[in-house]
């Protein structure tokens, strides 16, 4: 038997040991929970599973969750695009500070993300009395949930686009400019096609997080069934009422969304590695 160079590879048993450790850790911490979600949801069989998902409250929660995603993703994508254009295509004082500030929401607990809006717009907040006078309800209502979700998903798109656009440089845009293109033409015909997959990728991560956000939304939600409950909040309510099977049924819906996200993400990464600026 020929032995490979001992300094370049590990011996077979070290290899097996490392793969074993990695797979065991993976199985216990990632795979098992995934199996449990679906198994618990199906403990009473198929029929109650679909019943739980067709509950009016569950449907209402799904609708609200999707509505929030539909508002949050376009706003953060559009603003993230603007931020990436300013930061990646231009040099200006305070550029790295701006970069750090855009990343800031990732370092803040979701609960604090909810809290800051309560303190700003809630009844004890700075703008609270004003809003009450005008009879505008933001906190413990849907607008507050949208704002809190905007906060926690804030950096996703910008973060994906900025390194890619920096890596691509300005030459193509400059070439277009020299050929007589105006700003909109440069953006739509030259820049956007070069970053569209990265934009999709960032929007995908942003959407997945917006759909599943719990802590931030929980703080600002009024927890009114059928009105201010998103899917994750509905899971919590059902669980706290000891309706475990129903809770897991709704949870399995979210887990399914998560798996789809991961599949699309892996697909984008494999097919468009270069366009994403990944490895």
């Amino acid at each position: 038997m020929s032995r490979p160079n001992g300094a370049l590879t590990e011996s077979a048993w070290v290899r097996r040991l490392l793969i074993g450790i990695a797979l065991a850790f993976f199985a216990v911490f990632l795979l098992l929970p995934l199996v449990v979600v679906f198994a618990e949801a199906l403990t009473k069989g198929i029929a109650p599973y679909f019943e739980a998902m067709q509950e009016p409250d569950a449907i209402a929660a799904l609708k609200l969750s999707l509505a929030i995603v539909a508002i949050v993703v376009p706003i953060n994508a559009l603003c993230g695009l603007c931020a990436a254009w300013a930061i990646a295509k231009f040099r200006f004082a305070g550029r790295s500070l701006l970069l750090a500030l855009i990343d800031l929401p990732f370092a803040v607990s979701p609960v604090i993300a909810g809290l800051v809006y309560v303190l700003l717009l809630g009844s004890p907040g700075v703008l609270g009395p004003l809003l009450r006078e005008w009879d505008i309800q933001i906190i413990f209502a849907v607008p507050g949930m949208v704002l809190a979700t905007l906060f926690v998903t804030f950096p996703f798109v910008a973060r994906e686009l900025i390194p890619l656009m920096e890596q691509q440089g300005n030459d193509e845009e400059h070439a277009a400019r020299l050929l007589g293109a105006n700003g909109l033409q440069i953006f739509l015909r030259v820049t956007l096609p070069n970053i569209k997959w990265a934009l999709m990728y960032g929007a995908l991560l942003c959407g997945a997080r917006a759909l599943g956000e719990f802590g931030a939304v929980s703080v600002v939600s009024g927890h009114i069934r059928g009105q201010t409950n998103t899917l994750p909040l509905q899971v919590e309510i059902l669980y706290n009422e000891y309706q475990f099977q129903a809770a897991f049924a709704v949870a399995s819906m979210l887990a399914l969304f998560a798996l789809i996200t991961l599949a699309v993400k892996a697909l984008l990464e494999r097919r468009y590695a270069r366009e994403l600026g990944h490895h």
């Binding site: 070439a175 050929l179 096609p193």
Partner: protein, 358 residues
């Protein structure tokens, strides 16, 4: 179109990258900006294009200052070092871009655009490549697409930033003569940036040698090569030997030997520059020439390279072409005599003098 640069200056922060630039490129002329990296040549080209802005000075297109005009309004053709082709567009769409984005009033009809693209691709010898994408082309092909794209808007001046830098040596040589012919044919005022002296000398009608943000010399290639204006130009063009000499009563003295006689010169210490292939090796018993000893001989095909020590102590490098080699090669320790065929003398007071002996 005529391009004029007048007393142009620019800094990045506290670093001066260009100062006091004066340049005049005549209608239909091909000008090369030649210099080492960091000499400011690319910055100058980008200022002409409107991709950078100078702090002061004028950029004149046919006598009109365009320094405050936007890049898109200057009607210049620019070929980027790495081509900057639109990677998601076909060759056809790349070339057609400049026409397609025009406002409806100025945009040619579709068929007309297709015809012009076809013509341009024919011109750059890429007919039939319309449907390819940039990453399906070789470096030389990409370069020609970039050129066709720049020409599509009928530019008043063509600017080329190190256009051959990313190509391998053989393709580079082919492209060079091809570009030269094309430029002649179109009679299009062109400015090329390069750090390759052969490229500049071969292609350009006039060469501007740049260093540290200044134009050291601007002249036709023969003049720049044969009569470098400064020691720096000499150093940059064809790696010269630099020897400390003394000028006394018009005679140039290396140690105690008279190397040359100049018509008029003040007495001073000076430097003599001589290229390694402008030195002829003579036999040790020849009647004339500087005495020297071979330190090392390196055979190199077309020419043999010698490191020599002169009698007064300084070292000199000589390249002896193959045809001039008779009999056996010299070896370390052999004695020879040298004759300087062409050289330049630069002194602090005297200015420059060029000499041809023999």
């Amino acid at each position: 179109m005529q391009v004029g640069i007048q007393s142009l200056g620019k800094s990045f922060g506290s670093t001066r990258v260009l100062s006091g630039i004066e340049l005049e490129v005549k209608e239909g002329e091909f000008c090369a900006l030649l210099g080492p990296s960091g000499s400011g040549k690319t910055t100058l080209l980008r200022i002409i294009a409107g991709l950078e802005f100078a702090e002061h000075g004028k950029v004149l297109f046919d006598g009109v200052d365009v320094a405050n005009r936007e890049a898109r309004d200057r009607q210049v053709g620019f070929v980027f070092q790495h081509y900057a082709l639109f990677r998601h567009m076909t060759v056809h769409d790349n070339v057609a871009f400049g026409l397609q984005i025009r406002s409806r009033a100025k945009r040619p009809a579709r068929a007309e655009i297709d015809r012009r693209v076809g013509e341009l691709l024919e011109l750059v010898q890429l007919a039939g490549f319309e449907g390819r994408f940039p990453d399906q082309l070789s470096g030389g092909q990409r370069q020609r697409v970039a050129l066709a794209r720049a020409l599509a808007i009928e530019p008043r001046v063509l600017l080329l930033d190190e256009p051959f830098g990313a190509l391998d040596a053989r393709v580079r040589r082919e492209m060079r003569s091809w570009l030269r012919d094309l430029q002649r044919k179109l009679n299009l005022t062109s400015i090329l940036v390069t750090h390759d002296q052969d490229e500049a000398l071969e292609l350009a009608d006039r060469v501007a040698v740049m260093e540290q943000g200044q134009v050291l010399q601007y002249d036709v290639p023969q003049q720049v090569y044969d009569r470098p204006a400064t020691p720096a130009v000499y150093d940059f063009l064809g790696g010269a030997n630099r020897l400390a000499v003394r000028v006394s009563q018009g005679r140039v003295l290396l140690g105690n030997e008279v190397v040359a006689v100049l018509a008029a010169a003040d007495d001073a210490a000076a430097h003599l520059h001589v290229r390694s292939h402008d030195i002829q090796l003579l036999a040790a018993d020849a009647a004339e020439g500087l005495q020297a000893q071979v330190l090392r001989a390196t055979w190199g095909g077309a020419s043999t390279h010698y490191d020599l020590r002169l009698a007064e102590g300084s070292t000199v490098e000589v390249d002896q072409p193959r045809w001039a080699q008779s009999g056996q090669l010299l070896a370390a320790g052999d004695a020879v005599r040298l004759r300087l065929e062409r050289f330049g003398v630069f002194g602090p007071v005297a200015g420059s003098h060029h000499g041809i002996t023999g």
